[in-house]
Every structure is written in structure tokens, then in C-alpha cells.
């Protein structure tokens, strides 16, 4: 029509529909989708930033470039030019000497600005009060670990010889943020000023020195710098970032991110289901309007245009409101949690807004478009013949569009295309299977139900009359339950996984350099003070030099873990039995008849990175002697557990003639730290290393992550419930109409109530059953392919899910259909057309 102005009219019609309350369900569904994904994105974005900054403390910076030779000045210049902070560092091992004693120490020469992340804490006296410092040792001064003071029999204020320089001990280090990076190098730390390096004359060409450049700044600049740097890195230069540095924190962070991403996906699936259902309802309720508009002279295209522009406006409106709401919810969440979260929580970035908006519009067009397109094909003749419903859109088109939308959203959340595709298609296959199963179940129950009481027949009649439609409904509710179940299961698994990783009594002290003859005394003493300890392991330092008679240096690739392992002495041990948590991947443990040649069991990651296979001959240099051993097994080691772990374990007797000391780890509550002084006095040669601060750091990060996970879970569950009600609402029209008819035919309210309850309970139980089957499949696939966890069936859920489904939908359905038994039947029948 000539004067037809689609957007303006669409807006006016939308306003009218809004007032009439017709759009509530669709708006609600969209609003939930956008709010949830925005809030989760905001929340996780901030928590993630906070966690990343905590993890950066372990590195002392956001990224570190390290090399055995001096780094080009260009690296630092380029970083400064990109607005990043830089701080140079030189590290080396050196023997510290006092008048009477000597001790190998790891020395770090730093310049101002160290540390860039985390804090350095010092004290003036052993066991004195510690304080945080923003300073570094002044030129001519040195800060050392308290245990070095003991070992060298020195006092604060004394001089320490570092190479040719004599530096005054001005403070003791109690907490060094980047200590964890060198967790397995156990020599005591010495911190000095970079300006004093020339005076030490230690750093000469060819000397074993590690040059490090600490770099920090905001994320985009870091990424830009990284992109610039990586192509330039030489073979001997290594870039370490927060994500790939620390095993314990890195893995916890990785899992948490995966969980939060998956939760967002669950929320999106929920929203998608809700949008699809409510858009379907919207479309069906507007068939008449569409036919009427065609009667009044609108073309097919114009009708479609009218409804699509309404859809777009609705989407824009719900998206904007959802973004705002999501932002508010996130603030509320942060405010609720302020005691538990770090005080300096970084402000959220803008990215969550994009994610929220994309979620809203993708869900809208992916899930709402197909049902709405039917509105364009309503025949105008429908005004005379109400039975004329438009042809449904091709199901390939509908599901194809929805799947594409899901793919896009998941890809956005996970950033992993393979994972996304396998999840979407795995999920689609599961959904298909679920639908088929539901249909079969319904078909199978038709015969027995036909002989049941009237209430049963009425209740099940709706479901049985159109098994395909009922299966679709069960599928929709099943998907909702499944999303909730998967998130519950993952959360439980993650938390218990972390708990196992760091139990409250995880060893918080390492004792090394225990002399063999003192081993029994030491064990007895530990026993007396009530410390729980791991076994005592004999340790001898040694270096791997050849693999099958080839020098090992030739076989190491850039950036490999192997490089780290061969550039320093490894702690070698021997044991009759493997440690409890080591698992043999290849080969077998020692033969019962001792082999005359030494055998060695190697840790799997090191073996992979050095290309070592079973039966390879490894050559070691240990205390000046060479030793050859055959690889008899390859072990997987759990590095997260804070008990002594070894790359190389030899067969008993292999290292018999070599000097060794003993090593163990134990747990002592921090309240009993005083006894440590007695222990150090009783065993002066022993080195005691406290890992409590590292544990604390990791625990606090895990506590944060746990919190995030818990709240996201609550979020998803709430979203699930809301969507459930919205979805139920969408299926009510037909039921209300039927109920009204039955009442006019004289059906008692009680009968209708019972029939309704039965129908919804049946629906809920079936949906719960579907959900548990699908979530088992989904978690199995996730554990196996994405999370690297061991999967076990969740038997309890097989019982609980159908029960919970029956209860939830039963109650919700009974509430939703109250109108059937309370309102005048005539009113309902009138309203329904």
C-alpha cells in the first residue's frame, strides 16, 4: 500500500501489544538471555582479570623474556614505546661465603620497579615483623632469605661476599612473589641491586647467567607487544606469560575459565529454548492478525516486514534493558561478595557488553526467526476458515538456523572452534536421540494408559494425541534441565578436584639436605612435633648429558620443558616402590630380580619433550662420575600435590656409591611455627623451605574461583527456573482451552486438577529422564575431550533428575493451569479465538 510506513507502524503496534501484555513472555525470555550472558561475562571478566593479576604475582610481572645471553636493548625500548613498564633482572647461582661457611644461593640482581606484580615483604630480624616494601636493595646492600643467615652464621648488618663485591645485609626477605617460578630450585635467595653487578665480576661471557626482562601493562598493549616479539625470539630466548607459567594456578584458572564459559553456554541454551518457545507462541497467536492484515491489503512482504521490524525493535529493547540489568546484577554480585573478593578488583572491560548484545540478537534471530517467518505465509482466507494454518517452515531451516546461532555464540564464549563444533553437533545428536526416545516412550505407553482411569487418560491424552509435539515439549524441558544438570555436575567435580589438589593439610614445608645418618633422628623429631610428612627420599644432584650416546643439547627444541630440565642439576633419587600418585604410562616397575645395569624411570612430560623412549640409554654426570641407565618405565606425575616429585627415579642400588642427602615434605600448622627454630638448631645442615605463602596464594585464588563458580551456578539455576516457567506459559493456551471445554461438559474441578497434575508430572519426569541421559553423555564428552578429567556415572542424578523434573513441572504446571479450574469456561473459550 502506498502510504504504508512499516517501521513507524511496527513501533506503534509494538507499543500497543506491549500494553496488552501479549509480549511479556518473549521479552522476558530475551531479557533473561541477555541479562545472564552479560552478567556472567562481566563477572567472569572481572574475576578473570583479578585472577590473572594474582597469577601474575607468581611471575612478578605480566610477561617475562628470559635468555642465557643478554637480551637486545630493542626489546625493552619497544615495550616502553608501547606504553609497557619494563624492569631488567639478572639471575645466577653463586656460592656465598662467610668466614666459616659456604652455601650455594640463587642471586637475583634487580632494578627499581621490581616486582611489577605482587609484593616483596621483608623484615629486619629473623622471625621479626614483616613489612611490604616498594623498594629494592640500595647499591652496596643485599637482602637475603633468613635461612641463609643461619647457614652462613651471619647477622643482619654483616657483609656478604658476592663474587668480588662485598655487600651489606640490610634486610631479610620473607616473601618474594616470583619465588614460585623457581619452586623446584631450592637454594636460598639473595636479592641485590643491578648496579652492583659489574663489581661482582661474576657476569662474564660464558658464565651461566639468566637475563630476564619483566614486562607489565594493560592487556591490549601486552598482546600487541607479544605479536611483535614472538617472531623475533631467538632459539635461546624464552617468553613466559601468566597463562603458561605456573602449573597449579594455570590449571585451576584454565578449568575455571572453561567452567564459566560452559555455564554461559548453558545460559544461552536456556535462553534459546525460551526464545524459541515464546516466539513460536507469539507466531501462533498472531496468525489471525496476519490474515487480517492481508485482508486489509498488506502484501506478504509487508506483513513479514511488519513483524520482523517488531522483532528487531523488541530485540533491541530487550538487549538494551538486558545489558543494563546484567551490568547492575554484576555490580550487585560484586557488592555482595566484597568481603571475599580482592579490594582492587579491576573495572570490567567493554567486551561483556558486546557478548551480551550478540547473545540477545543471535538468540532472537536464530531461535525466533523461523517461527515468525510463518507469519508471512498465512493465507488471507484464514479470516473465513480458521483451520487454515500456514505451512511450518522447513525443519532443516529451523534447526539449521538455531544450530548456527548456537555455534556462533559458543564460539564466542569458548574461543575454541573444535570444541564448539563437537559440542554443538554432539548436543544436536543427543537432542535428536532424546526426542526419539521421548517419542518412543510415549508411543509405548499409549496402550497401557488407554485402560487407565479417566484422570490418567485425560492427563496423558494431551501428550499421546500428538506424540511428536509432546516429544518436542519434553525435549525443550529436557534441554533446560540438562543445562542445569551439566552445570551442577561440573561445579561439583571442579570443587572436589581443587580440594583434592590442595587439602588443608597439604605439605607446607620442604626439608632438604638431611644427612643420611640423621635420617632416623629427623623422622623421629618430625613425629614428636606432630608434623605429617612424606617419606624421606634420598637425593643426589646430577645432570642428564646424553640420550643414546648423543649429547642431549642437540636434541632440545626451543621453548621445551626439556630445556629447563637440562640446564640445571636435576634432583635424582632412587626408590623401591613408585610414589603412590605416580602412574606408569609405559614399561614396568623394577623387575623382582634386580637388573645388574642401572634402570631409570622418567617423568612422561620430560620424556616427551626430549623424545626419550622406553629402553633408551641415558647418560648422567653425577658428582663428577658418569652413569648410564636404561629407561625401564615412563611415569605420569601429579605436580600439583606439593609432595616431593622427581623427573628421574633410579632402581635401588644404582646410585649407591654416590653422595646423597635426604629430602621430604611435611605439614605443620602455622601456629606451631616456633618449633621450626628447634628443628633448624637440631639439624643445622638441613635446609628448610616454607611453601606456605605459595599455598596461601594458590588457595586464595582457588577460593575466588570457587566463589565465581558457585555464583554462576546459582545464576544458571535461576535462569533455568525462569525459563522453565516461561516455556510452560507458552504451552498453556491449548490446555486452558481444553480444560474450559471439559468443564462445560460437566467435568469436576478435582478431576481437571488431577488430570493437569498427572500430565505435568509425567512431562516433568520424562524430561528429567531425558536430561540425565543427555547430561551424562555431555559430561562424558566434556571430561574426555575438553577438561581432561576422569568420568564416572552420576548415579544419584538418575534418581533425582526425574523426581525433580516431575516435582518442578508438576507444581509449576498446576499453578499455571489454575485458571482452568477457577475462571469461567465461557470466558476462556471466548478468549481462545
Amino acid at each position: 500500500m502506498s502510504g504504508f510506513n512499516s517501521p513507524a507502524l511496527a513501533l506503534r503496534l509494538l507499543g500497543r501489544e506491549w500494553r496488552s501484555g501479549e509480549l511479556r513472555v518473549l521479552i522476558l525470555a530475551l531479557l533473561i538471555a541477555v541479562t545472564i550472558s552479560t552478567a556472567i561475562s562481566f563477572f567472569t571478566n572481572r574475576i578473570e582479570r583479578s585472577m590473572t593479576s594474582r597469577a601474575a604475582e607468581f611471575l612478578g610481572a605480566d610477561m617475562v623474556i628470559s635468555s642465557r645471553s643478554p637480551l637486545p636493548d630493542l626489546y625493552a625500548q619497544q615495550a616502553s614505546a608501547q606504553g609497557l613498564r619494563t624492569s631488567a633482572q639478572v639471575g645466577f647461582s653463586s656460592v656465598m661465603a662467610s668466614d666459616s661457611e659456604m652455601q650455594l644461593s640463587s642471586v637475583k640482581a634487580v632494578e627499581s620497579g621490581y616486582p611489577q606484580r605482587g609484593e616483596l615483604r621483608i623484615t629486619d630480624q629473623p622471625f621479626g615483623e614483616e613489612r611490604t616494601t616498594g623498594e629494592i636493595p640500595a647499591a652496596g646492600e643485599v637482602w637475603i632469605e633468613p635461612r641463609l643467615l643461619n647457614q652462613l652464621a651471619l647477622q643482619v648488618g654483616d657483609s656478604l661476599e658476592v663474587g668480588y663485591a662485598s655487600l651489606r645485609i640490610s634486610a631479610l626477605i620473607t616473601h618474594e612473589p616470583d619465588r614460585a617460578a623457581d619452586f623446584y630450585s631450592l637454594s636460598p635467595s639473595v636479592l641485590m641491586n643491578l648496579a652492583d653487578i659489574p663489581a661482582t665480576r661474576i657476569v662474564q661471557p660464558g658464565s651461566r647467567v639468566s637475563y630476564r626482562l619483566l614486562i607489565s601493562g594493560d592487556a591490549p598493549a601486552l598482546q600487541g607487544y607479544r605479536d611483535w616479539l614472538e617472531p623475533q625470539l631467538e632459539v635461546n630466548q624464552r617468553l613466559t606469560t601468566v597463562n603458561d607459567d605456573n602449573r597449579q594456578v594455570g590449571r585451576a584458572l584454565g578449568r575455571a575459565n572453561q567452567f564459566l564459559g560452559l555455564s554461559s553456554i548453558a545460559a544461552v541454551v536456556l535462553a534459546g529454548v525460551a526464545v524459541a518457545l515464546s516466539a513460536g507462541r507469539f507466531a501462533v497467536r498472531h496468525f489471525d492478525a496476519s490474515a487480517l492484515l492481508r485482508c486489509m491489503g498488506l502484501s506478504r512482504r509487508q506483513v513479514l516486514q511488519l513483524f520482523l521490524s517488531q522483532l528487531l525493535m523488541l530485540g533491541a529493547l530487550a538487549t538494551l534493558a538486558g545489558l543494563l540489568l546484567g551490568w547492575l546484577v554484576q555490580w550487585g554480585l560484586i557488592a555482595l561478595l566484597q568481603d571475599l573478593l580482592p579490594p582492587d578488583l579491576p573495572a570490567p572491560g567493554l567486551q561483556p557488553l558486546w557478548i551480551g548484545a550478540a547473545t540477545g540478537l543471535t538468540a532472537l534471530f536464530g531461535f525466533a526467526l523461523p517461527p515468525l517467518l510463518r507469519l508471512g505465509s498465512v493465507a488471507p482466507l484464514r479470516v473465513l476458515r480458521r483451520d487454515l494454518a500456514p505451512m511450518p517452515s522447513s525443519s532443516w531451516f529451523i534447526y539449521g538456523l538455531a544450530l548456527t546461532a548456537l555455534c556462533l555464540l559458543m564460539w564466542q564464549f569458548t574461543g575454541d572452534l573444535t570444541l564448539t563444533l563437537s559440542m554443538v553437533f554432539g548436543g544436536a545428536a543427543a537432542a535428536l536421540l532424546m526426542g526419539l526416545l521421548a517419542w518412543l516412550l510415549l508411543r509405548a505407553s499409549a496402550a497401557p494408559l488407554a485402560r487407565a482411569s479417566l484422570a490418567w487418560r485425560l492427563g496423558s491424552g494431551e501428550l499421546l494425541k500428538q506424540p511428536a509435539a509432546a516429544a518436542t515439549q519434553i525435549l525443550a524441558f529436557g534441554l533446560i534441565f540438562m543445562s542445569m544438570l551439566v552445570v551442577i555436575i561440573l561445579r561439583t567435580e571442579l570443587l572436589s578436584n581443587w580440594q583434592d589438589q590442595l587439602p588443608a593439610d597439604a605439605p607446607n614445608h620442604f626439608a632438604l639436605n638431611i644427612l643420611p645418618e640423621q635420617a632416623d633422628d629427623f623422622a623421629a623429631q618430625l613425629n614428636t612435633i606432630g608434623a605429617r610428612s612424606a617419606p624421606l627420599y634420598p637425593v643426589t644432584p646430577g645432570r642428564l648429558v646424553t640420550i643414546n650416546d648423543q649429547p642431549v643439547r642437540e636434541q632440545v627444541t626451543k621453548d621445551s620443558q626439556g630445556e629447563r630440565a637440562i640446564n640445571r642439576d636435576l634432583s635424582l633419587t632412587w626408590a623401591a616402590e613408585p610414589a603412590a600418585d605416580n602412574q606408569l604410562r609405559e614399561g614396568s616397575w623394577w623387575p623382582s630380580v634386580p637388573d645388574e645395569h642401572p634402570l631409570v624411570s622418567i617423568e612422561s612430560e620430560l620424556a616427551d619433550s626430549l623424545g626419550i623412549k622406553l629402553d633408551d640409554q641415558l647418560g648422567f654426570v653425577i658428582a663428577g662420575q658418569t652413569l648410564s641407565a636404561r629407561v625401564s618405565s615412563i611415569r605420569e606425575v601429579d605436580w600439583d600435590n606439593f609432595t616431593p616429585n622427581f623427573y628421574m627415579i633410579f632402581s635401588p642400588g644404582s646410585l649407591n656409591d654416590l653422595p646423597a642427602t635426604l629430602l621430604t615434605s611435611f605439614y605443620l600448622p602455622s601456629s606451631e611455627r616456633a618449633v621450626l627454630r628447634d628443628l633448624t638448631r637440631a639439624f643445622p645442615a638441613m635446609t628448610l623451605l616454607e611453601v606456605e605463602p605459595i599455598l596461601e596464594q594458590i588457595r586464595s585464588i582457588l577460593a575466588q574461583v570457587t566463589l565465581a563458580v558457585e555464583y554462576v551456578l546459582v545464576f544458571v539455576l535461576l535462569a533455568g527456573l525462569t525459563v522453565l516457567f516461561a516455556a510452560l506459559q507458552a504451552t498453556l493456551d491449548q490446555r486452558l482451552y481444553q480444560g474450559a471445554l471439559l468443564r462445560t461438559l460437566g467435568a469436576q474441578k478435582a478431576l481437571l486438577r488431577r488430570a493437569n497434575r498427572l500430565e505435568f508430572t509425567l512431562l516433568g519426569a520424562l524430561a528429567g529422564l531425558m536430561a540425565v541421559v543427555a547430561s551424562e553423555l555431555a559430561t562424558w564428552a566434556l571430561y574426555r575431550f575438553a577438561l581432561d578429567l576422569e568420568w564416572q556415572p552420576h548415579l544419584l542424578f538418575w534418581l533425582l533428575a526425574p523426581l525433580a523434573g516431575a516435582l518442578l513441572i508438576g507444581v509449576a504446571g498446576a499453578l499455571g493451569t489454575r485458571a482452568v479450574v477457577h475462571q469461567s469456561p465461557m470466558r476462556l473459550i471466548n478468549r481462545s479465538h
Binding site: G3, E22, A289, L292, L293, R294, M296, S299, R300, R386
Partner: protein, 226 residues
Amino acid sequence: MSDNVIIARHLSKVVSSSEAELTILDNVSLQITRGSSVAILGASGSGKSTLLSLLAGLDLPSGGEVELAGKVLNDLDEDQRAALRGAQVGFVFQSFQLLDSLTALENVMLPLELAGRRDARQRAAELLDRVGLAARTSHYPQQLSGGEQQRVAIARAFASEPAILFADEPTGNLDAATGERITDLLFELNREQQTTLVLVTHDARLAERCSSALHMQAGKLLEPAL
């Protein structure tokens, strides 16, 4: 342009079901002059509603053709027919067909807005006043009685000043007294606007008020048009 605003030539409508072909309309020809009022009478299933849907261009015949306001409907596609309806045709239905989500006023405004008329609100209000519903403008269809709903539908039908008004059993859902008042209203407005009225009914009293009547039986027209 001739004086005949509607011409049907040898119309037939056949639908095929799974068992057999069913002839709903069999070789119907008629002419309706501008400004006249014609009743199409017949029992249920006689094919009168089908005839209406063909005359109004809501459906296409299996055979024969319809000329509406000088245009042969067979030559037009669905969208062109829609445009023709928008410009020339108004409808009143047995089941009112008001949009539940719009108020009485908004329902009447709809065709005016579709035509892009700026005075839609004012004109709709006038029409509602004319049908005696000035006090009910902001009510939703659910809040109106059947008779009131049909008045809204009549106001809506006349809103766009159509040349032809098709009415399908306009009093079918109403009691006798209410039906009488609705009929009065329909004919009054018809006179005022000089609309051509085509009215499908099985109510002989209603048919008597038309200037001519056509009788349908088993898909055939019994008397030729006057």
C-alpha cells in the same frame, strides 16, 4: 468502467480430498452493480462462503474468473490482490476478527494506519462514536460484548471508505435483538457511504433488507442476478 463493480464468470471451485474430488462451487456467474446491496443466501455447506472468498479475492477459483473493481483477479498475484483489497474492499466477519492485543480504537485505526492516513486516530474515534461506542474506545475486545465487538468490526470495515463491503454472517454470533441493531447500523453506514454491500447469510430477514438476493444450493446459483 462499467456499472458492475463485481463480475463473476463461470466460477467453480473444486477441492480434492484423499477419496474424491469435491465440487464446492459449480459454474457460478453473476454481476453486482455499484451501490447495490446483495444478499447471498443458502444453507450451511451450500458454497456461499466460498463464493464470498472468491469474489473478495481471498482465494482463487478452480475455473472461471472474477472481475473486481475493473480488475480481473486471476491476472493478479496474491500481493496485487492484497493491494486491491486494501484500496477497495472492507470486511465484516461472523467471528468479528478483532485483534485481542489492540483496544477498540486501535483496531479501527489499523486499516487507516496501513493506508498511511495521518488522521487515523481522529477518524477512528469518529467512527466509534458513530457506532455508539465512544465510551469504550480504550477497551480490549475481551472486555466487550459480542454486539460491541461487531460494532467495532463494522467501524473498522467502513474506516477506509471501501467501495465494496463483504459481510460474512455478520449477525451469526449475536442474539436476535443485537443482530437487528447491528443490521440497522450496517445498512445505515452503507447508505451514507454508498458502498456496495455483499452479504452472506442464511437469515432470510436480513436478506430482505438487501436490494437483491442470490440463492445458493449445492454449489449452484438458483436465480440469476437482477
